[in-house]
Amino acid sequence: MAGVAGGGGNGNDFQWCFSQVKGAIDEDVAEADIISTVEFNYSGDLLATGDKGGRVVIFQREQENKSRPLSRGEYNVYSTFQSHEPEFDYLKSLEIEEKINKIRWLPQQNAAHFLLSTNDKTIKLWKISERDKRAEGYNLKDEDGRLRDPFRITALRVPILKPMDLMVEASPRRIFANAHTYHINSISVNSDHETYLSADDLRINLWHLEITDRSFNIVDIKPANMEELTEVITAAEFHPHHCNVFVYSSSKGTIRLCDMRSSALCDRHSKFFEEPEDPSSRSFFSEIISSISDVKFSHSGRYMMTRDYLSVKVWDLNMENRPVETYQVHEYLRSKLCSLYENDCIFDKFECCWNGSDSAIMTGSYNNFFRMFDRNTRRDITLEASRESSKPRAILKPRKVCTGGKRKKDEISVDSLDFNKKILHTAWHPMENIIAVAATNNLYIFQDKIN
């Protein structure tokens, strides 16, 4: 929905179609193949995924083919590399998971592409570059690399560059380690393109991309006495345009906006966003479901969006006392909170994303459902990422969950939802209506229908 202006009296401006699916079809899913993060780059031509096995797979969009105008560029594998390995911390006798928690692209400045990837403890800057030429005609070595005997060389020649099959290389350029005691949950590149922040449960650090042995601690909410700990940091992000502004969300459902110009340690916020609790919906689980799992600025920088367990909220940065918009993602789960607490689903961390024009937002749910909300028309739609509806250019049918009473045809009842099939990670192309949805170990790509 949304992104496309104009017409549509029935409210559906256009429809979403299946485009591609990546990943194995097996019923048996290897733990290492579970996708843990999805991110488009700034142009949308590259799509990166990270998985629990510490691998990064980058897909590149093929150039549009003039002879087949109806099929938009497909995403094909561009590069695969092992970003993080499992580590063992001998001091604490702990395994450090290699799972990639977040990937963030850097804006492209030359032919190479750069991205930051992080696991629980270490952030790495990767350079992905293409090599499609190689030099031939060296003087001192043979074509197969053997060194020549210098005395045998009677003439000198200038090596020439010859084309070769495209090779994409990924190399780690920087490794930012040993700065986080707790688990890193967020990284965010600053608009100055020189610095970035990394956040763990209790602290946020500021790094310079060139400097790996030093980082500045800018937020520290660790209490002097750990016994007083009641709140942790859950996500953090830099403002898209103001390089001195960032926000971080907490497990208590609050967001703090900080200005790095005000002091070196941003423990005191400039703005504090919190919605007063609705006393009528109070339950034992109120605090748990208010914990914010993701925070994202809009592309314009005027709004930010937060995701808690049951809803998505859009905040105007100029209004701290309540969100300007609230969208219910799966309100039918409110009556199931105890069961969801018992099986730990209540702790699932769903992400959310904006479309390129900030007119729509998307987030995931259970049963491989994902939801989209059009902020202008206030319409919402539920779609499913499944192999069944995976025929090329097949239009996705809207899904509906039946909350009670008679179940209509094609509706699914709350009790039939599969809570193991959760869509936590989604991404929206920065300019076009192309979305990437991670369903466990599969990556689905959907596009809008071309009329």
């Binding site: 604490k92 040993n178 209790l202 497990s251």
Partner: protein, 283 residues
């Protein structure tokens, strides 16, 4: 038929919990204290499970502990208002758990649980069964359970700005509500829920080393062998070996604002361990 006081297998307990939580969700007429007790039991069970993990999730632990505190607070307020046991209908002698073990709660469900299998839709009998199967835990048990569970979670060493640790001899109750509790309880009971995260950090090695004269500790340890690896003059403090940045042993968090002394002390400590580990691992 299970006798009273017998420990149930964990799998059976889990099945019962799943049944109980769906009963919580579906039954609108379940009395509030019962619901609250159920949630509380689930919270404590989770915290105990986390105790068995090498590295519990801090985010979840905080959320669960806050929920427990909230319920604790509610129950205290209620018991302050009325002297009678809130959980009416449940005779403490038959169902309440007594004898707190410092190692945690052992889940003992009294008899009558097998009746749950043959339950009917009748609300009253459903309530009875839930009552029968709930573990009624007293306030003190809760507090000491949390503190004992998480006291053992000594896993995070944090050497960033040296924090003032509460000296171990401190038994001043920090929670105002604790004043209402029986004072003859154990010291650890009084610390209550606020002890939850005391053990998320190791008895801070920096302050430990500051308290004691460092030279005294290491007097008899000859570290000259380890110091000379990279031709460092013996007078300069030993530095950690410049291993590749991906060296898995280098897990020491950097300290931004600690004093130089602390850094040196910590690095001495770590470089020795590094060396020892290298030898053991044979790298």
């Amino acid at each position: 038929m299970l006798g009273r006081g017998l420990k149930r297998k964990l799998s059976d307990y889990e099945e019962n919990m799943a049944g109980l939580s769906s009963a919580f969700d579906s039954s609108r007429n379940l009395p509030y204290p019962l619901k609250r007790q159920l949630v509380l039991n689930m919270c404590l069970t989770k915290l105990q499970t986390y105790k068995m993990l090498v590295e519990p999730n801090l985010h979840r632990s905080v959320l669960i502990a806050n929920t427990v505190r909230q319920i604790q607070e509610e129950m205290r307020q209620e018991s302050n208002q009325q002297p009678v046991n809130v959980c009416a209908g449940i005779t403490p002698s038959t169902h309440s758990y007594t004898g707190m073990e410092s190692s945690g709660i052992s889940l003992q469900l009294p008899s009558g649980i097998s009746q749950q299998e043959s339950n009917c839709c009748d609300l009253r009998s459903a309530e009875d069964q839930i009552e029968n199967s709930l573990l009624i835990v007293s306030d003190d048990d809760m507090s000491s359970a949390i503190s004992s569970i998480l006291k053992d979670l000594d896993f995070v060493e944090d050497i960033s700005p040296p924090t003032c640790l509460v000296p171990t001899g401190d038994d001043q109750p920090k929670f105002p509500e604790n004043a209402g509790l029986k004072l003859e309880d154990d010291r650890q009971d009084l610390k209550g829920a606020e002890c939850v995260f005391g053990s998320f950090e190791i008895s801070n090695s920096t302050s430990y080393l500051k308290d004691l004269a460092i030279d005294d500790i290491f007097e008899d340890i000859d570290t000259s062998m380890y110091d000379s690896d990279f031709c460092c003059p013996p007078l300069t403090p030993p530095r950690p070996p410049p291993l590749a940045t991906e060296e898995p042993l280098k897990t020491f968090p950097s300290c931004n604002s600690s004093s130089a002394n602390n850094i040196q002390i910590c690095r001495t400590d770590l470089s020795e361990l590094d060396h020892i580990m290298e030898i053991l691992v044979g790298s």
